[in-house]
Amino acid sequence: MRLKAIQAKAFGRLEKWESSSITEGLVVIYGPNEAGKSTLFHLIKTLLYGWHPANKEEHPYTPWQGANPHIEGLIEEKEGSVFSVVRQLTSRPSGVMITENRTQNLGNLPLPQVNFLPREIYEHIYALTVDELSLPTPKVWAHLEDQLFGGQFAPFIRPVRTVIEELKNEANSLWRTDRRGQPQAKEIADKLRILYQRRKAAAENDKNLYRLQAERDQYLQQLRASTEEKIRANTGLERLQRLYPVQKRIAQIALLKEKAGDLEKYSGIPANIQDVLPELENKIREKQTRLDKIGEREEQLSENPPVLSKEEYALLDYEKEIVRLSNSYHLIEAELKKLDEVRKEGEFSVLRLHELSRDLFTGGWNRQYIPAIKEINEANLGAELKGYKQAFNRYQETLAQYQGLQARLEKGVGFVLKIIAVFFLGGIGIYRLIFNDLLEGLIFLLVGVGVGYSLNLYSYPELKKMKATMEKLAEEIKQEKDVIIQELRELPFSLKRIESPDESLLIDLQRLRDILTELEKVELREKNILEHIKDKEKILNEVCNRCNFSQDNFLSDIEMLEKALLKAQEKNNLVKKSEQEKEVLQKEREILENELRASVKEHLSYVSILEEIGGESVQENIRIFLERRKQWETSQALEEDLYREYPHLEELQKEIEYLEEEGENWLDYDQKIARAKEKSAEIEQKIVEINRQLGKLNSDLINGEKEERLDELCGEIAHLEDKRDYVLKKRDRLILLSNILKEADFRFREKHQPDVLQKAGKYLETITAGKYNRISLEEERKSLYVHSQKDGEFIEAGPSLSRGTLEQIYLALRLALVEHLEQSFNPLPLFFDEVLVNWDSFRLENGLKILTELAQKRQVFLFTCHDWLKDYLREKENVQVLDI
């Protein structure tokens, strides 16, 4: 690729600048300093690669006046084709490539023909300045090596060795194989070492805490055990002190009981047996005596016993009745007397009846008249009698007249006697009937009735004149009389009274009625009295019959019975008394016999029980018994006191029994108490010690828990280990990267160095006219060697060589590198800035030869500001000098 023409419409200081047509061969650009030689290089580079930077404001070749950078170039390719390139930098970069056939928009892209080579490499490798040749220092050589053989042609690639050095330094700052310095890993390791120690200490602390806790638990157990022991000891002491007096007394009681022995079988023996036995013996004797006396008395009673007769028994059987009769004696006596009186009154009334009836009735009195008498209506009768009387009076008047006449004629007397007889007989009959003589009574009554029946009344005729009147009157009287008779028809009125009834009839009837009334009353009274007497009489008769008593009269019989009864009673009392005494004696005997048996039995019982004691005599047995009894009672009294003093004695006894089962023998009490107190004090001391230890342990535990935590340290360690791992990994990565870089560098060199060195050898041989014909690289020493044809030796490209030789070597290498880079691609234009200026004439000629030869294959621009060089070169063939 060759530039045929260049045009800068605006590019840095080049403005509306246009080169002349550029020919083949070496192109020498001449111009003073700051004339724009390097500007031209950048212009060509921009034509090939575009605008960098692509910003007008930032681009260093934007004209001061502010015009848009604008460049154009005409380029001929290797095969001869020509195209032009136009690039502008306005608001954005633009570029076109114009060939014969077409216009290709490039934008800001490089020309397709330069794509094989990065812009930076082109910029750095294809432009060689004199300064680059003039600093053959080791550093420059190292850079040279990297640049020429390490493929770090461009400034954007940092020297591999530098990078490797940095990597190593960085890696060493992280970790080192030796002990030098203070890499991070070492710092971390140091920290970790401390942390491990702290972790170990923390683990130990934890273990210690567990140990302390276990120890504390043990002490707590000991404390609990000691406390329990103390409680037990105190309890034991307290129990001993509490139980010992009780046990002592219980033992005393037991001893007394033991001495007393088993008194259960003597439980029946009274406490005062010494008195009881003589008393019993006395009792037995007394009772026996009494029994004897009873026997005597019973014998007496059984020899002459009083006996009641049959009658006496009967009397005693009727004792109540007799007493009742006796009690009724005066009453009966009064009743009998009253009966006499009543009977007398009755008899008197009957007499009066008879007397009145004698005149009134035919045949006298008859009790059968009584109902008729009672039936008579006195008022009617009075009225009738009044009527009759009136008639009679009229008749009487007449009669008087007539009787006057006749009265004198007759006067009757037999009628009255008949009435009296009737009444008398009737009365006797009734009397007999009443007094149980029926037959006799009936006879008398029949006789009376016959007498009464034989009575007939008659009337006296009236006188004639008067008789008529009298008859009329008599008729009237008769009528009246008939009425009266009719009225009195049931009664056998005497004719006398009925023939001439008058008021007396009524009066007599009234009197009769009165007497009857009185008689009824008397009879009633008599009846009542008789009724009263009758029961008693019946009893009296019965008693008398049963007692075979002959009766005299009522009252005397009673008196007799009273006396007999009294006697029987007295006798009976004797009998009863005798019986009662017998019974009493019998009962007394039974009681005495029982008592005697009981006493004897009791006595025998006591004696037999006491005999078991085994004494020689009863008295001795009693003595022994009493003595044992006393011991028992003493034990009981002590026991009672014990119970009173110790209400819960059973519990205490259980405790005592328990202790005895545990081996307590209650001996050496004081010593035991002393020992127990001593033990309690020892335990107390032990507890104090345990508490002291516990306090210390608790304090240690609290302090221990304040120590660093294992997990905290583990976390920190893990963090640091992570960081260490990171650092180590980073270091390994850096070293690996370093190794990779070294390997890559080696490979790159392996790939490129032989060709470059071969090419460089040729260039150097040409430049040095055969003085040095080969260049080689000593990998181990990282040194460049040149082969001297003359000496046949390799000479290290270093201070031993002249500066000129070193510049030639460099140039040879640079040119070889360019050639190597391009390989089969289009050779790109090369730029040399004053590179020949320091060369001597001989080498200048050789160098120029190289450049002109080089220019045959590629376009070579040589910038110079030196006139002599311009003039020198202008004379040479294939050299075109362009002024700028």
């Binding site: 690639i157 905290e712 180590l728």
Partner: protein
Amino acid sequence: MSLRFLHLADVHLDTPFQNKEPHERQLLREALRRAFQEAISLAINHQVDALLIAGDLFDNETLSFSTEKYLLQQLEKLHQVGIRVFYTPGNHDPYGSNYRLSRIPWPANVHIYKQADPETVSLKDDQGEVKAYIVGAGHEGSREKRNLAQEFPQAEGDIPFIGVLHTYVGGYQEIGEHERYAPCSVRDLLAKNYAYWALGHIHQGQVVHEDPFVVYAGSLMGRNIREEGIKGAYLVEIEGKNVVQAKFIPLASVCWLQVTLADLANITQLKELEKRIKDTLSEIVAGYAGLALFIRLLLKGPCPLYYELADEVNIATLAEEVALSLELSHLEISAEGILRPLCIADYQDKPHVVSTVLELITKLKEDDELLANLAPSPLAKSGVNNGQDELTYLRKLLTDLEPEVVARLVEVKKR
């Protein structure tokens, strides 16, 4: 008959928190204790029948004296209200004479499944009626590799069976790296016909299967950035043999979150970056009100602030500013993912050593021999002496090496 229990696991009491700052470690330690205390209070307040702990109650080696005391005090609270505790040891707290667990004087209400052979324990009510059978098995060592679930008895009858186990259930997507201790499959568990499987070991709480329920309670509190999100326990109610509710109850007052912030190519000022971080985090923080947030912010991708962010002082200042502004308990900003604004492709297949390096790195990823040849000797990292381990380690070192090597080799003028 209803049954209520609290299922928790992976408490990891006295876990060594790896935070740099001591006060943060203390905060996390106290928060973990508080979370456990919350669990105890929850159990008491909800009058649960039982507390099920599916292993890893504590980190065996680091359980401190004081924490052991604290633990026993908390369990004693349950004892006082008659709540039973069923505890199956896990790989961190195995039961055995050499381990701490066997030496702790547990309260009487705590039943520990001491052997790998499953044990069935009746859970009875006040009247002595069996409410459930709690079947569990414990790890006897710290590396239990057997399938313990297979040996669990088959559920029978009307009484619900509850399985408690510290196990790795394979065959589903898990989050985080876990050793395959006591491995089993979901099928193993389902085959037992249990009403509920209370599992531990996986620290990300999750319902592995519903009907029947197979549940990982997850860790009680996140211990590091790998245990992100809200943590707690499951409150479970069973009626008859059916789970009527398995409710996750947040208990931890601390929440770990990892946030990635990329697309920083246009950020040219630290203040601008601070604002971007605040804006991003404030939206996230709003969703975790009341929780102490421990956030790791990963800055990734090319950023013009590459050099500024390489300065630890700048990072620390930035983290402090943001944490203070958003009241975060902890904010760690990692700028390791920040790249210089370079395009790797620009340096590939070019005639310079950078390209050669990139080619070599690509080759190293496949060429173990070459990698072994280039390995640092000696390695700073210990414990990778075994050839395979070393290769694995070296391969990890190659991760994202290209941007770094380009950044180191390519000279970019610092702004």
